[in-house]
Amino acid sequence: MKVVEFKDVYKFFGNTVALDGVSFSMPQGLSLLLGPNGSGKSTAINIMAGLIRQDRGYVKVLGEDPRDVNREGRRVGFLIEKYWFYDFLTGYDHLMLAAKILGLSEPEIHVKKVLKVVQLSEYAHKAVGTYSKGTLQKLAIAHALLGDPELIVLDEPFANLDVETSASLMNLINELVREGRSVLVSTHVLSHFKELRAGHAVLLHKGKVMCEVELGNIMRVLEKTVVVRGEPLEAIYRALKLAGFRCFTVEDKVLVKVSHHEELQEIIKALKGIKVVDVRSGVLEIEDLLNLLVDEDEINSRGS
């Protein structure tokens, strides 16, 4: 069963095209919606949450219209990019209010459970006005988990979180998937998913779907790419080409495709005499990933 389906979806904000004929589907389990800022991720999530309507095309969430999916109890929980709380209420009061709005039976049990899951029990009885940004983010995540929804949609969940909390959120996502729930994460930060091999990813760029890939493929690309920064960039590019590497220039860096990590030494050797500032592998920005995947696609199609 597809948990989310977008078919030829268009969304305009005045003259701006936010989604330009987007079609993708997400299976059960973990799915990522990747893309740089302004690629249309949040617009897609807001359509899924029923906060806005698409201008054309159709969208199904768990087989239903986004605005109807939660009518008979909570099936989808959302962490949306924009949220705000009453600062005079405590985190516990907020979750109790949300649990009552959702019509959950035994709201206290649900609230205590999600507070424990997001590790917020310590702050639960303090006014929200005293919370840090990270704690607010945890409270928003707790809202998304209330009512044990089948699908949890998290828009930029790692924003405002420190390394430790990000790691525990990643564990939580893995735990939810293991429990049999579907989790859809929208993000522009790839590093949190380094360890993951299973899952589905959709890459959005300028309101269009660039590609749909398995998460494992992304991670393979990530591992087999070396990023070189230095001056002059043209000299770095030429030296690497001369040494037989497949590489290309993106803004202030050269991306080099390697087949194994040992090639890093050969890259450093090839760059002898050129001012190199940084050579790294396994660290990519989402825009670079887009370039690499498009390049790989071209190579595959040429090969076939």
């Binding site: 949450a49 906060l51 949220y83 705000w84 709380f85 005079f88 928003a140």
Partner: protein
């Protein structure tokens, strides 16, 4: 209900109630200072009928002073509250939880008319108490009922405007202008002799409703106008927020 209670509590946060009290007092007290002198001049031995009539007229005149400020307060509070929810993202979070957005927005309009109604209770009571030797409880209660209806009508109208305009400043400006325009239009029509038409428009239609309450059957009761206006506004607000309101960009 808990959400409405939280909304009411939100509208009662410093300095909003304080500002409301100051606003209504500034309108009512200078005016009553003049009429209080006249009331004190009345001998206490006068017949009950005369006092009743006097009290009644004071009530009507007090209503005339309080009604515009109540309409304006409701307009400002309702439009600010909804637009602020939109801009801060509270609406986004709530709409992912609730099943009916229409009911939420309607109840939000009602929650925002509570403070202006309480301000009316205070200011009207103050005006009448300062002006008459005997407090006309019946007339006072009727006036409060009508002012509450008026407050709810303007809350619904301003919330509807805010759902369309969404942003803080446009919502505030548009809803305030609409309230002022309705009042000015009704006032101008009344001054130019077209009283029956003027009294069909919201601010004056509520005054006519009050007069009908207090004077009995000889005055045509324009309750139907007010009921129709309130229903149309509530239905539009419900339909728009349930089906058309886009809460994010």
């Amino acid at each position: 209900m808990k959400l409405i209670a939280a909304e009411v509590r939100e509208s009662f946060r410093f300095p909003v109630p304080e500002l409301c009290i100051v606003a209504v007092s500034l309108v009512v007290i200078p005016w009553t200072a003049y009429t209080a002198g006249r009331a004190a001049a009345l001998p206490c031995t006068q017949s009950l009928t005369i006092i009743e009539e006097y009290a009644r007229s004071i009530t009507l005149r007090s209503y005339g002073q309080v009604a515009p400020i109540v309409a304006l307060l409701t307009t400002i509070l309702s439009s600010l509250s909804l637009a602020r929810d939109y801009e801060r993202g509270k609406m986004h979070l709530i709409f992912t939880l609730i099943r009916s957005r229409g009911i939420y927005v309607l109840s939000k309009a009602l929650a925002n008319s509570v403070l202006p109604i309480l301000s009316a209770v205070y200011s009207l009571g103050l005006a009448i108490a300062l002006s008459t030797p005997r407090f006309p409880w019946l007339a006072y209660s009727a006036t409060i009922v009508v002012l509450s209806l008026e407050s709810i009508f303007f809350a619904l109208l301003s919330t509807l405007i805010a759902t369309l305009a969404k942003r803080l400043v446009p919502s505030l400006v548009l809803s305030t202008l609409t309230t002022l325009l309705l009042s000015t239009l009704a006032g101008t029509l009344e001054l130019t002799g077209r009283v029956s038409v003027a009294e069909m428009l919201p601010p004056l239609s509520f005054r006519k409703l009050l007069a009908a309450f207090m004077q009995g059957k000889e005055v045509h009761i324009p309750a139907s106008y007010n009921v129709v206006y309130m229903l149309i506004t509530a239905i539009m607000l419900y339909y728009y927020s349930e089906n058309k309101l886009e809460v994010s960009k």
